[in-house]
Subunit: 487 residues, 2 copies
């Protein structure tokens, strides 16, 4: 940014600017702040007080310490691709943007790990090590722009998490700025069981409520020797679902096992990467297996046999890496593709036991019929992670509310089926009330008590993830009041 | 047990007996309690106040509630095979033994899970589902007698954790009795990313300090189609270590990759399952690969090539399942085998980066020379988890202390090499002070604060895992005192 002068008398803005090496690294005027009023969850918007762009851990710590001492709410933001509103500044927060901390610090092939700054983009890591035959496994659909820091906050998933696990399975160590500004290191570089409590697991997926991650050690994997990808088309959803269950029961763990329904297919075929899916088909499965070359053909043969058993209409294998890449682009831009067939959409993120797929899809269809809104389904079928996409038009009065209700109803169906309300997008502000579908008051209180251990004043990303404040915080508040009262 | 009468006037014993369906389910006389004065860590001994044997969750909850209301310290115990003293009643605890809660509650092959009571023995699970082609992966060496509840408490590992992960990677849900007697359920049946904080990860490996697990949902796996096991003998430790690193670097993830040194070989060959290891060899590797048949031969060929590169003296593949089983028995009874060459031994459990193996082994040799005590090394080389076995004779005054010092020095070497103080045995009472090798005071305080969320009065298994009490507990205590003082 060009050299600028601070054009405000707000003492906090002036102080914060000084903590991040000057006015070029802070935004505070309304026209600049608008871009930060929401993240990928666009239904609620709120302006932050300011946005700062620290360039290293020490600057993050200085900003956090300043906010903490001056009672200013604050939160961290990566690329802003989160889908549950975790980075929306609902309390006029100072946003700490980590996009200038985007270095690949080191790669250690011998011990299979890399160290990155939180603003480093997910896909860049794989691109940086691909020539040496390695990659970073978690692959959210936004991987071309989302940051690894954001992935840690949300415990991001992705299509290949069926075989390779979600972000938490690939994080070996974190440097964290705690809400009081202290800097700490957790994790132990890939050691399977570390002494003490599993703080690495606790921080990963805590949606920016326990601390701000400033350095991340991740596991990197050797590229599989071979992979093969097939598309399978089914005339009945039940058949496609049964094929999913049978593939897993056969002992095959595909690298990915994705499913799209008819409405979703209409969307992706109308968007940037059509691949010629039949227009009249009810269900398509995108199945990828990887591993040692010698084993791939066997697995594909088994998968074809299962598909045949379940009345597949057509099945085809990718004939080239280019074709495979195009199939994945068709799938991975699926959410955005809904823009081609609807002015607005709301994506949900329920999880169900695989065996309940047909019954849950039927209930989601019923929600669609009742609400009068179309619902497309794109999902990670292998691990039962559904993404119902509720299509609506926010210009029609009442439709936004109707879409939110329909989305919530889909999550209730998932919870009732023995599943839960989020598989990879997080709770954020979107699903705070739906937490009650799966947790009792006591269970929520236990979690907010844990938050209070790290974040006792609740200045860091307050109002996210949980419906109500914690007991430990209340104890401390009560005690403070007693002290203030002259005890 | 035969019907018995309570032969004491101690009102707590009488009350506790009533809570566990009568006097047949409680021990309280000294001669009965002696068997419970230690676990697999035999260096410290302390008698419990009593041992109760509840038969279901409700009885556990009733005992916990009683202890909590009457300020009686208490702790849970499985098979008592723990190696760090986690089940030793150092505060005159009431021991809640879970050995009568040993049912296999259900097996769900379609969704790949089983539900067990905490006293269910690890190996029995695999034995119960083997005929259907499934198994339970975590395989501590004590698996023939240790319980899955104990495995959860310690986040137990095992030889096959290199490829398949430790206990925490196989736990899908827990029923837990909290320290106040409330019963809660955590986890979400195998959903990769659950909403809220990762309490399942937090409880697993918390060494019985946060709650008592009364029901466990575990992941079960399909048996690999094929496996092959080889023994490789090296004349130099450095060559064996280099082979370990090279196998992993080649992109092979063996199911297990175990190493024993000369002293360990002497022990296992003198014990129950000798397999004819050469007497003059410095290092043996036990390497197992599993997976799809078609890929196994390729991997074995690669492993042989690596061993040849590093001057292997001899390498041989198991010719039958019986031979493979015997090799594993030789390895798995390795700790006990030390009894054949030494009156006492102390097993340690350090972890180091794989690449530091030769340098760390040399430093452990130096500790052996300095202390005058022999140290055998048996370890999970693939994931850098060392088990130095310090051989001593407790009848010689001062040798126990010398062995403890040597063990601690081994852990310091591991921590200094960028590793840590436990890989699978836990901290317990044994390594409380060594926690300071890897955590600062603040980091320990953050963890004891978390303990205080679940276990505020610290009646449950106090004095384990950490050197000092937590801040949140102190805040509450301070507040209680202020209230008592009439505020």
């Amino acid at each position: 940014m060009a050299v600028k002068k601070i054009r405000t008398k707000d003492k906090h803005i002036v102080s914060l600017a000084a903590l991040v090496s000057g006015p070029g690294n802070i935004l505070y005027q309304k026209e600049d702040l608008i871009a930060y009023d929401c993240d990928g969850f666009t239904i609620h918007k709120h302006l932050p007080k300011a946005v700062v762009f620290p360039k290293n851990t020490e600057e993050v710590a200085a900003v956090v310490k300043y906010c903490s001492m001056n009672n200013l709410p604050f939160l961290a933001r990566g690329a802003g691709t989160g889908l549950s509103g975790g980075a929306i500044p609902i309390n006029d927060e100072v946003i700490i943007s980590l996009v200038k901390m985007k270095k690949l610090i080191s790669v250690d092939l011998e011990n299979r790990r890399a160290v990155v700054e939180p603003g480093f983009v997910n896909l860049k890591l794989t691109n940086s090590i691909a020539d040496k035959g390695y990659y970073y496994a978690p692959d959210p659909s936004s991987q071309y722009c989302c940051t690894i820091g954001g992935n840690v906050a949300e415990n991001a998933g992705g299509a290949h998490c069926l075989k390779y696990g979600v972000t938490t399975n690939h994080i070996l160590g974190l440097q964290v700025v705690l809400p009081n500004g202290d800097i700490t290191e957790i994790g132990n570089n890939g050691i399977p069981d570390t002494p003490g409590y599993d703080l690495l697991g606790l921080l990963t997926g805590s949606e920016g409520t326990l601390g701000i991650v400033t350095k991340i050690t991740v596991r990197i994997l050797k590229n599989p020797e071979a992979k093969q990808t097939v598309l399978a088309y089914f005339d009945r959803v039940e058949d496609g679902s049964a094929a999913v269950s049978d593939i897993i029961s056969a002992g095959i763990v595909p690298a990915a096992l994705e499913m799209m329904d008819k409405t979703a297919i209409e969307g992706v075929e109308a968007a940037a990467f059509p691949v010629g899916h039949p227009k009249d088909i009810e269900t398509v499965l995108l199945i990828e297996v990887d591993g040692i070359s010698a084993g791939i053909e066997d697995q594909i043969a088994q998968i074809l046999a299962v598909c045949t058993k379940w009345n597949v209409r057509e099945v085809k294998a990718a004939q080239s890496e280019a074709e495979r890449a195009r199939w994945w682009a068709n799938r991975k831009t699926g959410f955005g593709a809904m823009g081609a067939i609807s002015p607005d959409y709301l994506v949900q993120d329920g999880v169900i036991p695989r065996s309940k797929l047909p019954e849950v899809l039927e209930k989601i269809n019923a929600i669609s019929r009742d609400s009068g809104l179309r619902i497309a389904n794109i999902f990670h079928a292998g691990d039962g992670n559904l993404h119902p996409l509720v299509l609506f038009d926010s210009r029609i009065p009442g439709q936004t509310e109707l879409a939110l209700e329909a989305g919530s109803a889909c999550l209730q169906v998932c919870a009732d089926a023995g599943g839960t309300i989020t598989g990879e997008h997080g709770v954020g502000i979107e699903k705070r009330e739906e937490m009650r579908f799966v947790f009792t008051d006591e269970e929520i209180a236990a979690q907010t008590d844990i938050r209070a251990v790290f974040n006792p004043e609740n200045l860091l990303n307050a109002g996210k993830l949980f419906p109500s404040p914690g007991r430990c915080a209340e104890v401390k508040k009560e005690m403070k009041e007693m002290k203030t009262a002259g005890v």
